[in-house]
């Protein structure tokens, strides 16, 4: 099982063969795994040191010379620390820069609250021009990276730190703006991103033991989001549970509610971090502590069904 950050590093190295792009990192290339690209294409890799704001500006300037640029650091130091540079130097000028942010969410584990970015999807989603992607496993990550490089414009990609359960056992095609039905069902729809996708599939199995047929949607394209698929499943099942390793304010759950409140008002339960900062612990301990387990998703669905 590869983590999505490892898959990201491998994808950059693989894509580097067929096309020209630059990769920048801020002294975290081993953690973000851009080192895989750096080792193969040292002349197209630049370490910018521990200066994320400047790195975003360099990336923007480079990209105006018609070369796509990928920048990497932890989600907390990209979306958080360099928010204004992403907004004003990358998104507002519509620069062809891809932000590969690793270590997103609480489930990164022991580093604790300073490093557990639970607001990046909200921050990035609120910036016009920005595409926001959060893949769940190795194959989807590889496809996401390819789609981001094919796309002309700013893209924020969020990757996790811990090994990610395999959801796809073969290479897939990924289309920005499209969700994936991982499991069909009639009683409730679980919509998830990133590490929460495998937990949602497990939750669907738990629900089956209760006689509940749950559909599971993988919504890796957080923005633009697949409105059609969300509405289709909300109509079909009448209940929606969202699952994300992110604050319940402003992330996937909010994005789903924005669609449903307008197009198909539906009861929604949001599984995620309940507006609290993170803390140290193992990923599983943290999942338990913050209510991000398959059991929590299952319970939220059952509560919705009970009404």
């Amino acid at each position: 099982m590869l983590s999505t950050r490892e898959a990201y590093g491998a994808a950059l190295a693989a894509e580097g063969d067929g096309r020209n792009f630059y990769v920048l990192d801020a002294d975290l290339s081993k953690a973000t795994q851009t080192v895989q690209f750096a080792n193969r294409f040292p002349h197209r890799f630049f370490d910018m040191g521990i200066a994320e704001a400047n790195m975003m500006g360099f990336a923007a300037g480079l990209s105006t010379c018609n070369v796509p640029v990928v920048v990497s650091t932890f989600a907390a130091f990209a979306a958080g620390r360099a928010y204004d540079q992403i907004r004003n130097s990358i998104a507002y000028p519509n620069c062809n820069v891809k932000i590969g942010a690793t270590h997103g969410g609480i489930l990164i584990g022991a580093d604790g609250g300073s490093h557990q970015c639970i607001e990046d999807l909200a921050l990035m989603r609120a910036i016009p021009n920005m595409v926001v992607l959060c893949p769940c496993d190795e194959m989807e990550t590889r496809a996401c990276v390819k789609a981001a490089l094919d796309y002309e414009g700013p893209v924020y990609m969020r990757f996790g730190r811990s090994p990610a359960a395999q959801m796809f056992d073969h290479p897939i095609k990924f289309e920005i703006g499209k969700g994936t039905v991982l499991k069909d069902g009639e009683d409730v729809t679980i919509i998830a991103v990133g590490d929460m996708v495998s937990r949602s599939v497990r939750a669907a199995e738990l629900l089956a033991e209760h006689g509940v047929r749950a559909a599971v949607l993988d919504m890796a394209s957080v923005k633009p989001i697949d409105r059609e698929l969300i509405v289709q499943y909300a109509r079909k099942t009448g209940r929606v549970v969202t699952a994300e390793d992110h604050n319940v304010m402003g992330g996937l759950g909010s994005a789903v509610c924005e669609v449903l409140s307008k197009e198909c008002p539906t009861p929604v339960a949001m599984v995620g971090v309940q507006d609290r900062f993170g803390r140290s612990g193992s990923p599983e301990e943290l999942a338990e502590y913050y209510g991000l387990t398959a059991e929590c998703i299952c319970q939220s669905a059952l509560n919705l069904i009970k009404g």
Binding site: G49, N54, M56, G57, G61, L62, S89, P93
Partner: protein, 274 residues
């Protein structure tokens, strides 16, 4: 293509740029006169002596780049672009209006000749250095020029960019400091001193030159000298006067960002047109 105007013509161009600045700001009803007027000679020398640009092909690959890191001085940027032929002088009157290509701060997606969107201070210099890094790595012949404000140097990102430009030996990057020593809340040395700026820039590994920022001959010479070393970025400290050319705006922090009323407009135009 370069224009290479002579000294007298460059001075005259600076005067015309100032007229355009006051005219566009009067019609806009808001904006930043002080820091625009202080940079008129700098823009004249860049666009009419030094830079290789082509108004007919604003995106030409090997053009020299310019980034206005002090984005609030957009009026002087637009004036220089209009005089150079990127768009008409008449369009300057649309500054800051709805549907205008001339936004309150530079927007590369809207204005021909604008290489980078700026406005949030401290960011343009990083983008300029990124462009220079590209030219260096890909052996492109273009140079990158960047104009920053002295108050802007209080932003930490400026120093991150200076560190990185020296580290990557970006001798194709010239940064000009519009050193008028005034910012919104008062004089730069009183609000938050950036001095001694020459020694700081040198310590960061830059070649540092000094010039009277209103002397087109001194500016031309400094810009020529800035191209000498392929591996060392150049920092030109341009000593300027905020509001230069309009007597009642000179050295007045209050004219950093203020609307020009009709009477002030007439007085300013009378002075500038002589």
């Amino acid at each position: 293509m370069r224009m290479c105007l002579r000294e007298e013509a460059l001075r005259e161009m600076a005067r015309q740029i100032r007229i355009d600045v006051v005219d566009s700001l009067f019609h806009a009803g808001s904006g930043h006169p002080g820091g625009s007027l202080s940079a008129a000679e700098i823009m004249s020398v860049l666009y009419f002596y030094k830079m290789n640009v082509d108004p007919a092909k604003p995106d030409k690959e090997d053009r020299d780049r310019f980034v206005l890191s002090k984005g609030h001085a957009a009026p002087v940027y637009y004036a220089a672009l209009a005089e150079r032929g990127f768009f008409s002088r008449e369009e300057l009157k649309t500054l800051r209006k709805i549907d205008s290509r001339l936004q309150g701060h530079p927007d590369r997606t809207k204005t021909p000749g604008v290489d980078m969107s700026t406005g949030s201070l401290g960011q343009g210099i990083s983008a300029a250095a990124g462009m220079a890094l590209y030219a260096k790595k890909e052996n492109k012949p273009f140079r990158v020029y960047c104009l920053i404000g002295d108050g802007e140097m209080q932003e930490g990102q400026v120093w991150e960019a200076m560190m990185a430009a020296a580290h990557y030996r970006l001798g194709n990057l010239t940064v000009l400091l519009d050193n008028n020593n005034l910012q919104i809340d008062g004089s730069v040395d009183k609000v938050m001193s950036i001095y001694p700026v020459k020694e700081k820039a040198q310590a960061f590994g830059w070649q540092v030159l000094e010039a009277d920022g209103h002397d087109v001959k001194a500016l031309s010479a400094a810009l020529d000298e800035s191209c000498a070393d392929a591996d060392t970025p150049t920092f030109i400290i341009c000593k300027t006067t905020k509001g230069k050319g309009v007597s009642f705006m000179e050295n007045q922090a209050g004219w950093h960002g203020a609307a020009i009323n009709e009477e002030q407009y007439r007085m300013a135009m009378r002075e500038l047109k002589g």
